[in-house]
Assembly symmetry: C2
Homo-oligomer: 240 residues x 2
């Protein structure tokens, strides 16, 4: 399985036809947001759909104990805030926060529904995006339930490579996204410390490497090899 073939969150805007895109832009309002700003938060009414023009936005739950549960990162061109806007009842359940200074478009829910009813191709595209995310969350659940921490870290890297990976000259995949170990831990339900040790174990196995700034480079073939994953889990701390 190459990263390129892995399920990828659709670049919504790019896949719209020029005409449909123009019509969408026509009903959208633009807004700039500084780093760390909340676009929306749990509890608020979900009466907008958003499209990321530039920057990066993270979507997360907040548990009762204040723990942040990271569901995914939006990259430019993607739509977010979709689930709450499509389903009539209830408000937001998640938080959307900019990771860096970003520019977003917002469309009011009713306008969006009217738009979709008038643009069948766009409606099918929304289906595609939702379906894609649904499958992705299903995989996350499978990972949480059936794998130990080391495997979960490896699987997270595979997912990140699929969505944010860039192939560099020597064949490695460079992860074009800045993540702290804490954030990774928040994505796979473990602790900062466990992520640190899992990453170092994987590096010792030669499956990946990181430079002085902790940027990740993945030797994709090996990481994607399931047996290598099991090897990583098995030889965990027994390697000198």
């Amino acid at each position: 399985m190459q990263p390129e073939q892995f399920e990828r969150f659709s670049d919504f805007m790019a896949r719209l036809s020029a005409h449909d895109r123009d019509d969408l832009l026509h009903i959208a309002a633009q807004r700039n947001a500084a780093k760390g700003e909340l676009i929306f938060q749990a509890g608020s009414p979900g009466n907008n759909v958003y499209f990321l023009e530039s920057g990066r936005v993270k979507i997360y739950h907040l548990s009762l104990t204040g723990k942040e549960i990271l569901l995914w990162f939006c990259v430019p061109g993607e739509v977010f805030g979709l689930a709450e806007a499509c389903h009539s009842g209830g408000g937001r359940q998640v938080y959307a926060e900019t990771c860096e200074s970003s520019r977003v478009l917002s469309v009011r829910q009713e306008d969006f529904k009217t738009y979709l009813a008038a643009h069948p191709a766009a409606a099918l595209l929304v289906n595609d995006v939702l379906a894609c995310r649904l499958r992705s969350l299903g995989n996350v659940i499978q990972s949480l339930v059936a794998s130990d921490v080391n495997e979960r870290v490896a699987q997270l890297l595979v997912r990140l490579a699929a969505n944010h990976g860039r192939r560099v000259p020597n064949g490695d995949v460079y992860l074009d996204i800045r993540l702290t170990h804490q954030e990774m831990a928040n994505m796979i339900g473990t602790t900062r410390q466990s992520v640190t040790s899992a990453l170092n174990a994987l590096r010792r196995l030669g499956v990946l490497d990181f430079d002085d700034r902790h940027r990740l480079y993945i030797h994709s073939e090996r990481l994607l090899d399931k047996t290598a994953l099991h090897g990583a889990a098995a030889t965990k701390r027994h390697t000198a």
Copy 2:
């Protein structure tokens, strides 16, 4: 939060207009399936959408180690196999298996897309269903990451009550779905034994009860009270 207000997987067929429903039935093929039959399985091409007429169908992942990870149960009127049919690439990732003798309608993917393009209201309804499930899976992930086993069991019961609960005369909510402890464990990533003890702990707390055939009756107010949940977790095994 009353169970009735909790996010409920939409009864797709019932929410279609009579006209849209007729058109859908027109392109659907009917099929009967015995108990334990697979409607589709992971790996197969996802070129059909299904609608459950009668019976019960469970949707689950299978981990590499053969562990069954239960995502949800379909009840009559609901649509399933939607995610893979909506998203063009890749085959099925999950299994759909009848829990009892059932009758399902199937529609070919291309026909369904054509249908949706011609019936905007149905397309929006599909969006709604997908969005609803997306939120539901998000909640499951939150539960898996942030809660211990006792809380997860309690939260599962809340979800089940929302989808399969029926209020009985004395005010309790009766769970109209037959689940083994093993199946519950498969839904929340724990073991059979832990589910058993968690359920018994909840019963001792008076939050629920079950009859001689292990049918569950929930005293909804108390279960839905968060503080009660924390109490359940805290007093776990210390109660005589």
